[in-house]
Symmetry: C3
Subunit: 257 residues, 3 copies
């Protein structure tokens, strides 16, 4: 982990414009605020270009997207590309329906994402690798690497495949991360908030692989730290500690281990 | 309570597709995840049929509905009827405006709900029984039974009238439940999350009256258990414990009493 | 602080109709419920007039507004004006984009707000006083008073400029409040929930300056009280205590100081 990246986010408090799903808006905003970033969430196409113009980074998350909401996402993403600010695409549930597949294809045809992040089933679907989407568990790390490499290559991007082991691929190199906690699977939007934290880290002036690795490693460490509180008895009591721990120094979080 | 129903939900982790209101999406998703189900929330009409096709149960909750969102609800409900999976209708605030009344009538004209759940004022409105909707308290259990029976008969469904005593009617028989805690009236979406837990219980292969009774009895027991923590000083500190307790074994919850 | 206002809200449990942003709906509903009011949140233009007709107060918050959602806001606001019930306008991020500016101007051209509340940057923008909107900190109290006075005069309303010192102006007099806690800046929707608490206080039959001052003073006191719990280690653990403390007696909250 590159602690300078975490510190830079906190020093600069980057403005991250979220076009994200309705389930996780509150959780994402509170998580990013605690981490040190500044969230904006706006949906109107009329202001998509203006909001993207004042932002330091853009998160596109299709979790509850409708046809009507797509143009604002595309406008925000294109504006980010023109300005040279990072764009993260989180293709939530892209394999579930043809509508989601077509939405993501349309975004990818017009916007160049800095990072695409998703679970193995989602990213596999984007690169047409067969993947068992029934069942929660990831089948194997070998496949995640294949999927991430193919996504990085196909979309000329950095691909992040989350799972028990997170895999990060950029062209022909890859990194992996093992921090994290199974309780994250029992809270809604754990992956969505990671997308926001990741976007914030991408606004720092550091090598992209370091930015992405730091974001996923830090996020997993925060989950481990929060889950370790003796008063945590499930996902409900985990959440407040998780939000808090996103604001903690890396040294404090690491002392646990 | 039929504990097998709770266990089956946890073993099968049914996929519940929610077309629900924006106020409670996060709370509902976290509550169902903790309980043992798998939530999906999608709104686009374009994918309503596809989402319903992969789901094990559907929840239709009109809390913040707009005219534009209605077709997706109807498509999802009709698909569920064709597939033979359960559909729960929660007609939130149906008595408040003519728009809500017309929305619910349109749903009921095209979708056969497995269960209709609501408070006495909502269900009374659906069966044109006069009901005092000003004031929070339910006037009497006698009326709730009359309302539930008439709703079950009119809509050929199982009707659940929630209140201090919950009444469950299916044709000419009825059951009642007294578990629960007044603090549920001080948190938003308590009834909405019950709709989600109920839908999950309906996906098990058990008699419907048992499924419904188990859902409401379990839910009330969870509230009693969570409210009993010494550190709970109001609805804010109740919520994390309530979410946690939805994941607990029935035996653990019952030890309190 | 006029404690009678707090008590009257709790005795009457006013119905506050919210047309507010998607980020804060759950938090706002839980906060107002805990405080003692009754929230409704509906978005459909078809029922805007009917909902406003049964409400005791209206909150218009443009946080995630789209062009499509504007007519319902205007209808609700106009209905409130006709009925003589209070309307609070929270022009969230109005300075950020021309779209937001035009939305707020359209509301102000058709609806007479009882109170306009916002931070210094938002209210300054409404009265065309230059204001540094980059950066989180307010520059000075002197300016806040000038901004609030000009807004009160321009829009014939009571203006509330929130900040380290909150300034309340009605025509040519002004009041200020210093209760509050910096942790409110680290949770999303702190200002939005204040708008809801404020609307509830406006439904009591007391002088408007007292209603507004009581709302902001009480809200800040609640934040101070909740932040003081030894187990609060950040915004995540603050939130449950903050929601709880909104339900406490003023005497209990004041004992802290």
């Amino acid at each position: 982990m590159n602690k300078d990246i975490i510190q830079k986010v906190r020093d600069q408090s980057p403005l991250i414009h979220h076009l994200t799903n309705q389930v996780v808006m509150n959780f994402t905003a509170n998580g990013l605020l605690s981490f040190g970033g500044t969230p904006i969430m706006a949906k109107a196409e009329e202001e998509a270009k203006d909001m993207a113009s004042i932002a330091d980074g853009i998160l596109l998350n299709i979790g509850t997207i409708t046809a009507q909401e797509l143009p604002a996402m595309i406008t925000a993403g294109k504006t980010a590309n023109e300005k040279g600010i990072p764009v993260v695409l989180d293709p939530v549930g892209v394999a579930a329906t043809p509508f989601r597949t077509s939405v993501v294809k349309e975004i990818l045809n017009t916007v160049q994402p800095t990072v695409i992040k998703g679970n193995a089933g989602e990213i596999a679907h984007l690169v047409e690798i067969p993947w068992e989407t029934k069942g929660v568990e990831s089948i194997g790390d070998g496949n995640s690497v294949e999927i991430a490499l193919k996504a990085a290559e196909t979309y000329q991007t950095t691909a992040v495949v989350t799972g028990e082991t997170d895999v990060i691929c950029s062209e022909n190199e890859y990194l992996s991360n093992n921090s994290g906690h199974p309780i994250l699977e029992k809270i809604t939007g754990a992956g969505c908030l990671l997308g926001s934290i990741l976007t914030a880290c991408l606004t720092t002036n550091e090598p992209i692989e370091q930015q992405v690795l730091t974001a996923v490693e830090f996020y997993g460490l925060v989950a481990e730290y929060a889950a370790d509180y003796s008063e945590v008895s499930g996902p409900g009591t985990f959440l407040p500690h998780f939000i808090d721990a996103l604001s903690f120094e890396v040294d404090k979080l690491e002392k646990l281990n």
